[in-house]
Symmetry: C3
Subunit: 315 residues, 3 copies
């Protein structure tokens, strides 16, 4: 594996899940693999789970880990050639990225969608510059259009909790006060479309995601109908993707909040969310605190998905 940005990079998904579950059984069994290897984690945006779980994953593998917080305000990178750099950007990415590549063996990058240009975001400009110029294996720690370490952890969690061969998994939009990127729902769809699940997406009209990730999955605009018979409810907010509303909030309709009345429509479904979550916007207190809530096991599996990816990037 040369880089990790989407489900395809894992190859056979059953093998990947199997490998992840083996790692979870004995996470220090591969400590020799990372000896004298350095993991550099570059954050253009803040992070709690990704920072801690990926660092832990690297250390489980015996790697040296370095965290670099790029203060978005202070360290602006020029991206265009030919510019006279006499303004507020002191360094060009064409230097900064290969330099970072000099001091490590694997690079993780977090760089959120900026919602200034749909093309800039959906071409994954920043992440692809790291892949192209760093000279080292690169993995996404949530980029503009995807969060594959999260989706892989979600898949592992579903595998651990599913009660039937092919469970029904519903990705539901839910309201939020701020405009959020589509990275998490994109990657979740990317993974579910390759997994052995019945996958349904539900959201208000206008919130359609990029077909590159949806790939013909069933979209049901009635949330109640979508929830019927579901084994897993995966809630998430996202801002609009479709033009001309890219990055905009079209609805804050709290009738889409996941509560126990809606969960009662399901097949005693598990509740999932990537965190951080706004309670009583995305989900009610009682649902997230119920025994069916998997939000903490999902977070715990972030260490496992990261370690599986790092192990493969090192091998």
């Amino acid at each position: 594996m040369k880089s990790f940005t989407n489900v395809k990079d894992l190859g056979n998904l059953n093998d990947a899940i199997k490998e992840a579950l083996e790692i979870k059984q004995n996470r220090f069994a591969y400590k020799h693999i990372g000896e004298n290897k350095t993991l550099l984690m570059v954050f253009f945006n803040s992070s709690l789970r990704t920072r801690l779980s990926t660092q832990k994953a690297g250390m489980n593998l015996g790697m040296n880990t370095i965290v670099l917080d790029v203060n978005q305000g202070a360290w602006k990178l020029e991206t265009e050639r030919g510019v006279i750099m006499d303004g507020d950007k002191p360094e060009h990415l064409l230097e900064a990225i290969p330099v970072m590549g000099c001091y490590c063996d694997v690079i993780g990058v977090r760089s959120f969608a900026q919602f200034e240009s749909k093309t800039f975001d959906y071409e994954e400009t920043i992440l692809n510059q790291f892949i192209r110029y760093s000279g080292k294996p690169v993995f996404s720690m949530e980029a503009a259009t995807g969060h594959p370490l999260q989706a892989f952890a979600d898949l592992i969690t579903i595998e651990e909790h599913k009660k039937s061969e092919r469970p029904k998994v519903v990705l539901t939009w839910a309201p939020h006060p701020r405009a959020l990127p589509q990275a998490v729902p994109n990657s979740f769809a990317d993974f579910m479309n390759e997994a052995n699940v019945e996958f349904v997406i539900t959201h208000p009209k206008g919130y359609e995601l990029d077909e590159k990730f949806v790939r013909g999955a069933k979209v049901e605009y009635c949330q109640e109908k979508a929830f019927e018979g579901a084994d897993f409810i995966y809630a998430k907010n996202w801002a609009a993707y479709q033009d001309p509303n890219y990055g905009k909030i079209l609805s804050k309709d709290r009738s889409w909040t996941v509560d126990s009345a809606k969960m009662n429509l399901t097949n005693n479904a598990y509740f999932m969310h990537c965190l951080p979550v706004r309670r009583n916007m995305i989900v009610s207190d009682d649902v997230i605190e119920s025994p069916q809530s998997l939000v903490i096991p999902e977070a715990a599996n972030r260490e496992i998905s990261a370690q599986t990816v790092l192990k493969r990037l090192l091998q």
Copy 2:
């Protein structure tokens, strides 16, 4: 030991001191104990000594160490259930704390008194939420009402320097331009009350500390009288504890500054302070620079107190 927040958690204090002094003799002798164990240090407030000494202590024990700086302004945690989280707090502590617990084996927490609610501070709301929800051993790296790693380091330092079986130790208030928490004097009293010392507290009227920590120790309002025959002078500022003045500055009287004239009243006492210290407010230049000043040895013993506590939490 399941958590470390006060002197009682150490059990027999002579045994703890003995263990600390053994560790100091050979601080790498227990490197196997922390193998494949991760120390997570969570800072809600800034830190110099605690950050460096605790990290060093963890590494001495062979632990992986992760430092998480929680920017107080950026990452506000909702603490109430039932709230519709549509404001400036993006995550609930009920998720954030168990998530942090997923990625480590021991958690240190720094969270100062906020002086907004005496009840919130003195119930140690934040620290206790970590103890209750993280699922991992928790230790205080200075919480709202105590700084036990500091007080333990102070006790070790007194043990190393005492010239009599039962030295006289005086905790004296001193002036400061800003309102400071009572964490350090509380824990110092907590430890001195269990140690084999003659313990006296001196401060202006109105600065009485919580009886939970003072526990009937002698309070002498005349600083000069308190200093007579003292073997150790421990200076510290704190804001008022008693209602209705909780968190307020009642005096900036520089006649309480510890200077050489006052030190001359003592039994050639050692001078102690937890640092950082405001010179010529708390203490004069000549006293802090004198051969009797123990401020640097105290700071050095922070590594030892932290390592002793971590060793016990791991065992």
Copy 3:
């Protein structure tokens, strides 16, 4: 070696280069040297290359590494004795520095020139306080008047690429929108004056550097003339050193920008710069992207210069 601040601290320069090149061949061969040793890196200013390369160098040697970012705004150190510390500086360097020394075996310090007082800057007040009060070996990670780890990396890079016994090396001033310290050109001159090179400095009148570093090296005010026959062009901006213009910008003349027309005057010279670099101010896109550009190999050698220095400080 007790500290590392300039070329003299390396002793015989050929031996140092030889040692560096050996380390580069097998950078994990000395992992036992740093076992149970702690590297503390103290940053008063931001950093990309120095932070990553020095941390990597310490880890290559098996050291525990701790990075301390001293937020310049938040953590002001009082430097004068006798001051009543009732203002915005909560700690005195006379305490802070020995405390930092308690928790490590080697200290790296980054503290840029502040351009407020030439005396304060050129006496290396901050760096020398660390040397005097920390009690531990100290090395510069760029101080007010020098950046010796950079200059040592530059020398290694020249050694690796030189095509004649005694190449011509030209340090050229180039324009920049902000006032920059003289640390890099000072150290580059300091090293080149001891190396087996023909060293020429070129800059507009008024940009003369401190004679302590120039030491009689040839200064040629005509950039074109300086470039004739050059084997290495080392570009850098700096603000004026000479009184009464210390720290001022005297010129932003873009006719000094290094472009391919000027490089054509040389002996097919290599282009060098310490980075970060402002393209089309300091150097044109085509020159920095040409096969003759050594900016990335220079950056990569920062790991080697740091590791060589750390190895010597530990031995």
